[in-house]
């Protein structure tokens, strides 16, 4: 299958780039994983295997790190990822209503991906932009002072 071959090639390339950039050292494992995660969107088994091989570590040691950190994912994510700040400052200024609005609009819960693979909804810890809460990030775009009513319009920007 042509498509699968190209994905496998992309993963391989991302791993190679990360290794070239940071060097195949134990203490560079997190930067390497972060790089591949950013390139591919998540960390496929193939990537973990190749990294483990390069660092001469058991795959389990690489997986244990990959699954520990909130910004690394070992499962595929949607085309767009919403990272919703679930921290207290956003919570006390109406964050809950906003997350409910997002869940209703996308018909998924936190941690899930829509069946069409368009959206993944994640709850993350403090984004440090508490002065403009409730806040969330769509891919790399930051939205602050969000009200439940604004949610559909924001999501619409990313469709199509």
């Amino acid at each position: 299958m042509v498509v699968e071959a190209s994905i496998s090639e992309r993963v391989h390339q991302a791993v190679e780039n990360a290794l070239a950039r940071f060097g195949a050292h134990d203490d560079e494992l997190i930067p390497i994983l972060t790089h591949v995660n950013h390139e591919i969107g998540y960390l496929p088994g193939q990537a973990l295997e190749e990294i483990a091989h390069a660092l001469k570590k058991p795959k389990s040691k690489v997986f244990t790190v990959a699954s520990f950190y909130g910004m690394l994912s070992t499962i595929p994510v949607g085309k767009h990822v919403i990272r919703f700040c679930e921290s207290a400052p956003c919570h006390v200024v109406g964050g809950r209503q906003v997350i409910v609005a997002i869940q209703q609009a996308l018909k998924i819960n936190i941690g899930q991906t829509t069946p069409d693979g368009q959206w993944t909804l994640l709850a993350v810890s403090c984004l440090g932009i508490c002065a403009v809460g409730p806040a969330f990030i769509v891919d790399d775009d930051v939205y602050g002072n969000v009200t439940p009513e604004q949610v559909p319009a924001i999501l619409k920007k990313y469709q199509g």
Binding site: I30, T34, A88
Partner: protein
Amino acid sequence: MKYFRSHILVCKDPDCIHKGAHEVMDALQDELVAEGLINEIQVLETSRIGNCWNGPEMMVYPEGIHYTNLTVDDIPYLVEEHFLKGRIATRFVEPEKSVKDEELGAPKSKEIRVVLRNCGKIDPENIEDYIAEDGYAALGKALTEMSPTQVIETVLASGLRGRGGAGFPAARKWSFVAAKQGSDKFLICNADEGDPGAFMNRRVLESDPHAVLEGMIIAAYAAGIKQGYIYCRAEYPIAVKTLNIAINQARAMGLLGKDILGSGFDFDLEVRMGAGAFVCGEETALMASIEGKRGEPRPRPPFPADSGLWGKPSNVNNVETYANVPQIILKGADWYASMGNEKSKGTKTFAIAGDVNNTGLIEVPFGISLREIVFDVCGGIKDGKQFKAIQTGGPMGGCLPASQLDLPMDYESMTAAGSMMGSGGLIVMDEDTCMVDIARFFMEFTQDESCGKCTPCRVGTRRILEILNRICEGKGRHGDIETLELLCKEIKSTSLCGLGQGAPTPVESTLKHFREEYEAHIFQKKCPAKVCKSLISYEIQPDICTGCTVCSRNCPVEAINGERRQAHKIDPDVCVRCGICMQVCNFNAIIVN
């Protein structure tokens, strides 16, 4: 060198960027070109001028005028008024915020800015701006006029305590590492500012990175360390970028690297980025993460000074701690110790969130009362509502009620009151906040962020959360409060690291100060603040309802029925208590029971 008659500093803080700072800056450039002023007036980026609640904003020097709430459309008018006609465009200046240059150091009456002194005043990406503000003068003084021991003695005498939360005397840690033989020692800056609502360190890193670098170099000199790391959380990409620029500039000027300022002292620095794990703010977990492992804490002792990064003696301090150091060296220990109270010296930055009029960042001397912070510095509670509680110390801190408002803000007083100083996040809550819900919320956080290594934290926080969930759902039982108290005690005394030891504090403090709310939930099945969904119901008052149908059209679950121009009714069995009907009703006909 090119001279400009005016400099415009546009705030490029993330808060302002999302409100359109990029667009405003572009419009400004275009307008200055169009008016032929571009060779007279320089536009620069800076970070954080005010508190960014009314961005995009900018500072104009030499006048020191602070313009706020700017839009792209305002720029032509602003340029014409200020730069062509030489008049202040007063409509963008809020009277109390139109601070002059010399007053920028202390914009609010009770604020003293030491750590934040340069924020919004200098270009963080230009080392010369920092040097012009006496930057690296302290490093020069330390390296040429002082011995490492003298540096340690000066900082000890200043009373500087660790700003990460624990409050351990900073220079004492340095002296432990200084006493170790061998050259394999590490200096670490903990920039993993994960406490929800606390973003003081982010502002310092983004707006005055050299202050942190200079503090680190001085500390490394004092402790005899050659290699340093700044561990910054991945949620702060701008801080990482700014730091890397600053490090490169410092290196190019010979302020980092070999033979710093010709003194023979070598020190270099590297930024390490986290990957989203709250527990990595704990120093042993942080070091594990730098080593490329799971960020799990380990028991102390051995403390980092004995066995830290890669098993070598290491010194870990927080961003704010390091940022204080150059000022102490430059102005002397006595000057620093003159601020604050008996046991807590100097100033502390706080990030205020929640239901106060002015949220954002402040820097105040230790010993100021909570009341002064809430009502004087932050302008009191929003919408004229009543103060209910202030949460200090982050998710491991406690909620203090109105009766504790006169407490002085210092390490010992906060601990004695059943909360803690923490790193500086403050959340103010008004009368509409349910304290049981808040306790549950913090428990959700710690439960989620528990790394899972030790049982009391992993299992204990889950048990507490289950009970709190039950109480909020109206299924609380007799004995729940007692079980919570027992769990809190045990988790506190048996957990491995600060996360577990602090996790029960929000529950303990709310049980102590707001016990009646727990009792109302459990025994009367009522949520006094009308927050817990299972314990409230929405009702349309038929005599006020005009039958406009707005509520029924907006109800996501079709729980509202009624004919046009007739009073509507909510079906409590279908209603999911989202509150949308109440928000959209134009006649305030909907009430919560």
